[in-house]
Subunit: 237 residues, 2 copies
């Protein structure tokens, strides 16, 4: 396909750009050792993440007004304290744990791919993360965004239409001038239905050995790759 | 003063980061030569800019709902067509001229200063420019933003309080953790009244030889410098 129309690449972040599971697990292992708390911290990361979709659903449904993902993460963390022996921690310690999402590390192929793509395209997040979370993550991990868009700027949560549409509109672009890059078929399905171009990156290890969804592309997305560098190859960067 | 509390530097853009007068003049001189239209293009740049404050005032006053600066620039350009012999241009040509604001060039000291500051601080625009204008300008001129904030994300125009406050809030910061950097005393006055730190850069040639305002700092701002690199020096970057 011809890609000359595309001006911006819009990225899902959690799982696509960064490896949240390993990042949270590594931080918590270190924290657990310091505090003398011995737990299965990989399971903790998976359990924390499992509360993510239900928490957003309350806002998507209109049951609750918009709140930032930082707040949802904090509420979800609260639910895990007892099960993981964290109930005696101070507020400052819990806030520090909550901000582990601000310190997520990219997959090994992410920065090599994005730094090539940045020369020819506007690179913007279209993530359910809030602005501060993504700004701090970018500073921490050198992610070369041109702009941070998504949930907070659109006041909604993917896959709500307005998150994609408002992001394109803020860049002064039509959906067809934007390519959504994600490791999740449902994210691309929502974007394609609105006229966006689509690129799938396979991250079969995002959830570890037990991963059941998104083990491969389930449609003929415009680009399908194993690594971020494959997207750069496909776009001739 | 101690600056250890400061996490983010928030920048005015037109006049502070970029030299809009020389950029617009240079583009229009080239365009005029190509089109055989002989005009005083520096005066054109000044006249176009002179329509900026009155156009925003209609929105600040509530007389008109929020529209992006791109649209205000386009309406203002329309008012100048006859006086500058541009009335026969096509819509595509006028749109190209309007997007000259997306191609403004930094002052010579801007990038050396900002690239030093970026290592230690979050760098965000807090400009009356819209997001697409500032994203495109950053791509064109290599301005190293971590985030683009201001008018469009806050749905207002400086010096309205909410533009400053919403920008800090999006970064997850208190006003006292942010320093507003501007070449305009009134911008810093508005920010200081809300609790922001302030840095003044002197740009006595922003409007050319006839400049009457902002020829020097009119208060004891937290930092006062002649160049962006002076701000980096003062902050120990």
């Amino acid at each position: 396909m011809a890609h000359s129309e595309i001006k911006a690449l819009l990225f899902d972040v959690f799982g696509t750009v960064v490896d949240w599971r390993r990042s949270i697990t590594t931080e918590m292992r270190r924290f657990g050792e310091e505090q003398g708390i011995d737990q299965d911290w990989e399971q903790f990361a998976l359990d924390w993440r499992a509360l993510y979709q239900p928490a957003m659903e309350g806002i998507r449904s209109g049951e609750r007004g918009y709140v930032k993902l930082d707040q949802l993460h904090r509420e979800n963390l609260q639910q895990l304290l007892l099960a993981y022996g964290l109930e005696a921690l101070t507020k400052a310690q819990l806030d520090h744990i909550n901000r582990a999402w601000h310190r997520l590390q990219p997959w090994a192929d992410t920065l090599p791919g994005m730094n090539r793509l940045k020369k020819d395209y506007v690179l913007a997040s279209v993530s359910n993360g809030n602005v501060a979370l993504l700004v701090n993550m970018a500073k921490h991990s050198a992610i070369p965004w041109d702009m941070i868009l998504g949930s907070e700027t659109a006041q909604g949560y993917k896959p709500q239409d307005r998150v994609y549409l408002h992001s394109a509109q803020m860049l002064g672009l039509e959906p067809a001038q934007c390519m959504m890059v994600a490791a999740h078929n449902d994210d691309l399905r929502a974007a394609r239905a609105l006229g966006f171009k689509t690129a799938y990156i396979n991250r079969p290890n995002e959830y570890g050995e037990g991963q059941v969804n998104d083990l491969k592309a389930d449609q003929t997305w415009d680009i399908v790759g194993e690594y971020m560098t494959d997207i750069a190859d496909a776009l001739g960067c």
